[in-house]
Symmetry: C2
């Protein structure tokens, strides 16, 4: 079953204490797709400029990502330049050029509108809503957002939340949205805003899942990763592993969600091992399954 | 099987955004014992002053804690006054009076020297070593420490680490001890300093366990707790649930350790629900088992 993603395809320049990478392929839709492609078909809707290297396009299509929704426009591609702190726990944006992404009005190709699993990657909630309007009857819509939209387009975001199945936020974003310090309470409050599932990402500390039927909150630890060279795209790799593994399984029940969060955790753990998509682009399904098995054995505690 | 604890018995004054509590019973040995007593006998070695209320002593002995090693000396008891930040993630010490604890030379009663499970609560590593010297053949020694000792008695601490079985540190302490930002690498480095087990506490984010046979690191999430009124003593409650449940089981293998970390997690989650030992002192084993079951069901992911 194909997964549809609408988001950015970008050229990233990244500096971390472990080195730097200039003008590498990045963007939310790219990182999502590279992870999701391990589990089945991916349909990508996005935009790049004339400067976007053909080899990056090839990388995605060779992974099996359907680029029938990737538009090439006059102008330059979305570019982001960021630098991580010494402990990798924070980053500053040195420059951001939206370029062709600024006025991007995503058009979902007519024969993709029946896609059942949809990822609305980080973007304006107005644009995200316009994508949702084009879809026929998606079974599971996963929404990502960020501080910028919570601060500048709060009401549009609040209108959108009841229309999606699941929302993905990091701890800081959840606290900003709910003005609640306690993360468990914040997660439950986001749930009360309309989605039936809330997934709070805590980076190296894992994730917390809240749903109508499991208000306790389901904590899933992160894979203990000592090789963190570049965290860029970890959240979108997580989303890719999560949503695409659910689509492959064809289920949206709690068990599928938990298994999905684990696949997301594993994909994110590989993503951070090298710059950009370097690690994921040379990753195999055997490596994913091997790490997943070791992780589940480690976290297993008999009831 | 009895567990021996050597540590502080104190009078705490605590201010949090949820209220305050003045001159309540606290200290590492107290919080540890209150949690550990659910699993079997506890032998407490500590010191209080003439001002220590008899009702606090009764509270411990009614829980089944053997106070044969609690000395009452001339002078005032150890007192600590602290205030938590609005988000409860940091605290400042307003005042600390060591009083009778300052020159405390713990004497383990002769008939307790064969104790098999020992908790060396936070204290000077020199004092902790002197306790260890008095023990005959402990099977499992758990050591707690803190920034102060890492900074001021580093070499004594480094000498002690190979003599204990397990060391308990929070993330900040592990980073300080190893000068390593990545927590997974920090955990492994502490392991290389001599103990055969390292348990890193991450507060609301759970714990990470490292051992010779499971170098991957075993992540155990925290119980998703929305009722945090006073975090004081959470770490010692964690240690109490961990060590005493291992002693009850009579095993120090990885499975016992994982189960122990879960019991520790559950005890700590109750501890923070009210000031001081208020919540744990009215807790039942049924409540512990019920929460533990719900927690393990939530975190369970099929292999």
């Amino acid at each position: 079953m194909s997964v549809l993603v609408v988001g950015s395809v970008a050229l990233d320049s990244i500096e971390t204490p472990h080195g730097q990478a200039m003008d590498v392929v990045g963007g939310s839709a790219t990182h999502f797709s590279m992870a999701a492609a391990f589990f089945g078909g991916v349909r990508l809707v996005g935009v790049v400029g004339q400067d976007f290297p053909e080899r990056h396009v090839r990388l995605l299509s060779e992974r099996g990502v359907d680029l029938g929704g990737l538009v090439r426009q006059d102008g330059r591609s979305f570019r982001w330049h960021g630098r991580y702190s010494a402990d990798m726990n924070s980053r500053e944006t040195i420059s951001v050029e939206l370029n062709v992404f600024e006025d991007f009005q995503p058009q979902v190709p007519a024969d993709w509108r029946d896609s059942r699993y949809v990822f609305l990657a980080n973007g304006s909630p107005v644009t995200q809503a316009s994508v949702l309007d084009q879809m026929e009857a998606p079974e599971f819509v996963l929404l990502d957002s960020m501080n910028l939209w919570i601060e500048t387009q709060r009401s549009a975001l609040l209108e959108l939340l009841p229309r999606v199945d699941a929302v993905l936020l990091n701890d800081e974003e959840a606290r900003l949205l709910t003005e609640e310090d306690n993360l468990v309470r914040a997660g439950r409050e986001v749930l009360s805003l309309g989605p039936r599932l809330v997934i709070l990402k805590k980076g190296e500390h894992g994730a917390l899942v809240f749903g109508r039927d499991h208000e306790l909150g389901v904590p899933v630890p992160a894979f203990p990763q000592e090789e963190v060279r570049d965290p860029t795209g970890a959240g979108d790799s997580f989303a890719g592993g999560l949503l695409a593994s659910m689509a492959r399984r064809g289920s949206v029940d709690l068990d599928a969600i938990k298994q999905g969060v684990v696949y997301g955790t594993i994909l994110a753990s590989f993503n951070v091992e090298d710059f950009g998509v370097n690690r994921v682009s040379r990753l195999s399904m055997d490596e994913i399954e091997d790490r997943r098995r070791r992780f589940l054995q480690a976290v297993h505690v008999a009831l």
